[in-house]
């Protein structure tokens, strides 16, 4: 069922009223082909997916059909009948409902779009009312919007869910003609996309005449994305028509040809600082993307320390204060900045015309992601965007090289469409019961029209409804506490108003990490004493910002780390405040986050393996990297494309096993955990392991080279896919990552509330721990719907199990072992991360025993 891909230009005159044509002409523009194509789709009463690069006038394209329709409708309105008033039966007179809904992943984007729409509406004197509705919209305006809806409402997936759960939903939406979904490629990769798809399904029932327009960057599988926009008829697939904007000049991407020595490991790219500074100096406005917040902090600080020219360089990332971020964005729009150091916080957002260079520091991770970032430079379509990639270490050189090749081929690697989460479904079912009562059969049919839930089984649906009602437990003891109840006709409705109130306060699928406030205080003396007493440290102190609780939990008092651009020492934690003092160390003992949130894409990983395997292709690599690979070929071997290379060697009284799956940090951490378990069983006495994007190193007291030689370790058995059976189950029982995954599902599904009566509860205030709930549920009802939801998340989320299982199947029976007398060149980067990256050991007892014996200070490796 390949939908028609348009690259057409229709007759502007036929589609665009005179007023619009004059407006375009007055600004010296002419409507683009894809803008006209969307008008044509609207005229055909069809839904459409517009795939266009940034700068193609995507947003205007999405709104043109609405503007045109409303301009003619208004003319008819003025000529004839008066504005209709609708009685709702509650003795309240209201005007008609909405015409167009616009959904954006960012509330800031919704606000900006409203501002941008004002201009054509004002200049053409169109009688169209546009309003935004976000979490920041005052209650009075929200109430007014429900009585007197604007023509066009700009909002977010969460606000849509809230509106749909209200009594006003039929009135608000029954007149809806169109929904515009912006940045659809970004929305559909997360649970917010699941929530949005369920909202769409509801809208299709309330407003069968509604059509959808999706706006998206280029993706790997546009056909799949197009399914999201139309109701799925059971049993087969339906998709919206696809419109592709052509004409974008291919970007010019190069790798920084550094004069410096390329680091073996690390992600700071400190070696290239002067060169990055020169790039900013040589261009009008440069966006410098890094993968993590702490890298952004560090780079920003370093650039300022060498900023002899006083260039206006700013910092932008997600944990900066919102006001601060807006200030940077405004300065950027006004053209007052020469450079902005930023994270994925700027991956999406308003168009800035004047960016002429994008610099990407570190690993690109995926080709689509990189292309979208590069698209932030130069929003004029006919000019090429320019980008420079700055690898921070040798492996990243390989990744940058293949990413540049992938971009040249316009090869996309966006993830496939999600299968809808059962936790999100539970939230939605409760939301539905908050509105009009529903019948199970009808709701099940409705939900299956949403593409991510098209294959939802009746069993899963019934289990979710049962969960929402009384917990879904085999032990039926909670019927009397049910949150939703069935009436005589079988319709489900909320049991009491408190349930509705709780739903309203907890809507949404974004579960924030627990954040702690970081305050700078004076140290209370010697390092040995830090944390040695329960005495209260001087309270107060300057607020530096916020940090993830999970990160702080891994620290001992006295550990140093980088925060807000300086090296600080962890002193103590009191409630939600972390007290740190200024440290005088040059290098922090515990570096913050190593990679970004996203692992290396499967697609780029495959290309890196092919590049390594093909010595002829090494010509495109810097000389230092070629020499490194040649040396590896001489002393060991370069990993072959279809095989898994395993090396073993001794080093300072320990024995190391290093393998190179290239499957990304998340899958490697899971694999490392399982390998350590198996090696322990084989009595190799493993001590720990470390994983990066490319490799895993395990170290042990036992001589693993010898054990492999005499058959006590069988590598094929060690890497057998059967490790995903019992070993995985045993590990999942205690895995902190799995418990975090479960906690997120518990919150999203509404089992536990994250907000009570308006205040956010931090985890330390919650009266029970979801970890304990996980343990008990796992033991007593292992197939409970929440555990199923958590396992489904684990397949793609923090544990990346699916990728691991694909890899194990791929390399099964194809393991090449090299026994070496010392570390190989290829192993050096991962070995260097030992002691820098968090070390994941096996059992709790080992860590505790270590602490008990005060062995902690002994250096590893």
């Amino acid at each position: 069922m390949p939908p028609r891909i348009l690259q057409t230009s229709a007759e502007p005159a036929a589609l665009l009223p005179g007023r619009f044509q004059q407006w375009f002409a007055a600004r010296g523009w002419s409507p683009r082909a894809h803008q006209l194509a969307l008008l044509e789709k609207a005229r055909e009463d069809a839904s459409a997916l517009l795939i266009a690069p940034t700068g193609a006038g995507k947003t205007l394209a999405g709104f043109l059909p609405t503007l045109v329709e409303l301009s003619t409708e208004a003319a008819e309105r003025n000529a004839g009948a008066k504005q209709s008033l609708v009685s709702t039966g509650r003795s309240v007179q209201r005007s008609g409902g909405l015409h167009t809904l616009y959904i954006s992943p960012l509330k800031a984007l919704a606000v900006d779009i409203a501002r941008n729409l004002e201009r054509p509406i004002a200049e053409m004197a169109l009688p169209i009312k546009v309003e935004t509705r976000t979490g920041d919209t005052p209650v009075s305006r929200r109430q007014r919007q429900r009585r007197y809806p604007p023509d066009v409402l700009l909002t977010t997936p969460e606000q849509l869910a809230l509106l749909l759960s209200s009594d006003d939903a039929p009135f608000l939406f029954s007149s809806l003609k169109r929904i515009v979904l912006d940045e659809l490629h970004a929305l559909v990769t997360s649970k917010r996309g699941d929530l949005l798809s369920l909202g769409l399904a509801r809208l299709w029932r309330l407003a069968p005449q509604m059509r959808a327009i999706g706006l998206s960057a280029t993706v790997a599988e546009p056909d799949q994305l197009a399914r999201f926009l139309v109701p799925q008829p059971g049993g087969k697939e339906a998709a919206a028509d696809i419109v592709v904007a052509g004409g974008a000049a291919p970007p010019e991407v190069e790798m920084l040809d550094t004069r410096e020595r390329l680091p073996w490991a690390g992600h700071s790219a400190r070696h290239a600082l002067p060169e990055i500074y020169e790039l900013i100096k040589a261009n009008k406005t440069t966006l410098v993307f890094v993968n993590t917040r702490s890298q952004a902090e560090m780079l920003f600080q370093n650039l300022w320390s060498m900023n002899d020219d006083g260039l206006a360089i700013a910092l932008h990332h997600g944990s900066l204060d919102v006001a601060q971020r807006r200030k940077v964005e405004d300065a950027m729009s006004a053209g007052r900045l020469r450079g902005v150091v930023c994270t994925s916080s700027l991956d999406l957002g308003v168009d800035w015309g004047d960016v002429d260079l994008v610099v990407n520091i570190g690993a690109p991770k995926g080709s689509s992601r990189l292309m979208q970032r590069i698209g932030r430079a130069n929003h004029r379509l006919d000019e090429a965007s320019r980008a420079v990639l700055v690898p921070a270490n040798r492996f990243e050189v390989l990744e940058c090289r293949v990413a540049i090749d992938a971009i040249a081929e316009n090869a996309q690697d966006t993830p496939p469409l999600r299968t809808g989460g059962l936790d999100v479904l539970a939230q939605h079912v409760l939301g539905c019961a908050c509105g009009e009562p529903f019948l199970s059969d009808e709701l099940y049919a409705e939900i299956r029209t949403a593409a991510p839930y098209a294959d939802l089984s009746r069993q899963d649906f019934d289990d979710v409804v049962d969960f929402v009602a009384s917990g879904g437990y085999a032990l039926k003891t909670y019927e009397r506490f049910a949150r939703i109840k069935q009436d005589k006709e079988g319709r489900w409705r909320v049991a009491n108003p408190k349930v509705r109130q709780s739903y309203r306060m907890n809507v949404g699928t974004i579960v924030e990490d627990d954040m702690l406030k970081v305050r700078l205080v004076r140290s209370r003396g010697g390092q040995g004493k830090a944390g040695g007493s329960t005495g209260v440290i001087a309270r107060g102190g300057r607020l530096l910002g916020e940090i993830e609780e999970a990160f702080i939990e891994g620290l001992s008092p006295g550990d140093t780390f980088v925060f807000s651009g300086e090296v600080v020492r962890y002193e103590t934690l009191v409630e939600d405040q972390v007290y740190v003092s200024r440290a005088h160390d040059k290098d922090p003992k515990v570096p913050s986050y190593m990679g970004g949130k996203f692992p290396l894409s499967t697609y780029l990983a495959e290309r890196v393996r092919r590049l390594l395997d093909d010595g002829r292709a090494w010509g495109g690599l810097p000389e230092q990297v070629r020499d490194w690979l040649s040396l590896q070929r001489d002393v060991s071997q370069v990993p072959a494309v279809r095989e898994l290379l395993v090396e073993s060697f001794p080093r300072s009284n320990k024995h190391y096993l290093v393998c190179y799956p290239f499957e990304g940090r998340l899958a490697h951490q899971t694999l490392g955990m399982l390998l350590t378990r198996r090696l322990e069983r084989a009595r190799a006495r493993p001590l720990g392991f470390v994983a990066n994007e490319y490799a895993i190193a395990v170290w042990a007291l036992g001589d693993m080279s010898f054990m492999i030689r005499d058959g006590r370790i069988d590598l094929n058995a060690l890497f057998d896919p059967d490790m995903l059976g019992d070993d995985l189950e045993a590990w999942l029982a205690e895995s902190a990552l799995m418990k975090r995954t479960f906690r997120n599902c518990a919150i999203i599904s509404g089992l536990i509330a994250r907000r009570h009566t308006g205040e956010e509860k931090s985890r330390r205030q919650v009266l029970f721990s979801t970890d304990l709930v996980y343990d008990v549920l796992r033991k007593h009802q292992a197939d409970h719907v929440l555990l199923r939801a958590a396992r489904a998340d684990a397949a793609t989320g923090l544990l990346d199990l699916r990728r691991l299982s694909d890899m194990l199947a791929r390399i099964h029976g194809r393991i090449t072992h090299r026994e070496l007398d010392r570390v190989s060149p290829l192993a050096v980067p991962v070995m260097l991360e030992i002691g820098r990256e968090s070390v994941y050991g096996e059992a709790a007892d080992e860590l505790l025993a270590e602490a008990a014996d005060e062995l902690v200070k002994e250096a590893m490796g």
Binding site: Y473, L475, E837, A852
Partner: protein, 223 residues
Amino acid sequence: MRVSTVTITDVTFAADLSGALFWEEQRLLVVSDLHLEKGSSFATRGVLLPPYDTLATLSRLAAAISRHDPRTVIALGDSFHDRKAHERLSSDDRDAVAALQTGRDWIWISGNHDPILPRDLGGTIADEVAIGPITFRHEPTGVRGEIAGHLHPKARVSARGRSMERRCFASDGMRAVMPAFGAYAGGLSIRDVAFAKIFPANGFVAHLLGDRRVHAIAASRCS
């Protein structure tokens, strides 16, 4: 298995991995803060936690009892999560309690969650119990020879960027606070000021419940 011990004044207790203490000479087993029916207690307020916590807690208690075969069992207060918790016990759970009591003395000590204990669940009811130099009561006062519960001690040990948090006994050799035994009972960090009030200035030891043994670690080393 190496037996871990906690000594209070001159009495040595075996520290059971489950969070119980066993006094060999007296054949006395002590557990604290069972918080039975905590799950259903939340359910009455609309938080539908899995209703298996009582079953889970009693199973672990049964295992501890079968390991030590005590003559006397002391439940050191907060055995029931709320005043009506005992009414919500399933008949299976009631039978399980009765089976555990068969052939031994059973003492329910009252706690702040269960100041009035049910009369229909067997055993003796008391506010505190003194045996030799040791006094058992729910809320710690810090006197010499006291074994108490109430605070749910837990401790976190961190090293090299990873960390582990476990329930623990807190003791300085003169007095002890027991970990909560209940499946849903949360914990309070031993670095909380509540512990400083009980243990005099020269510090105390956290006996953390590991997977295979109990680890004694100086409280100052924990967070």
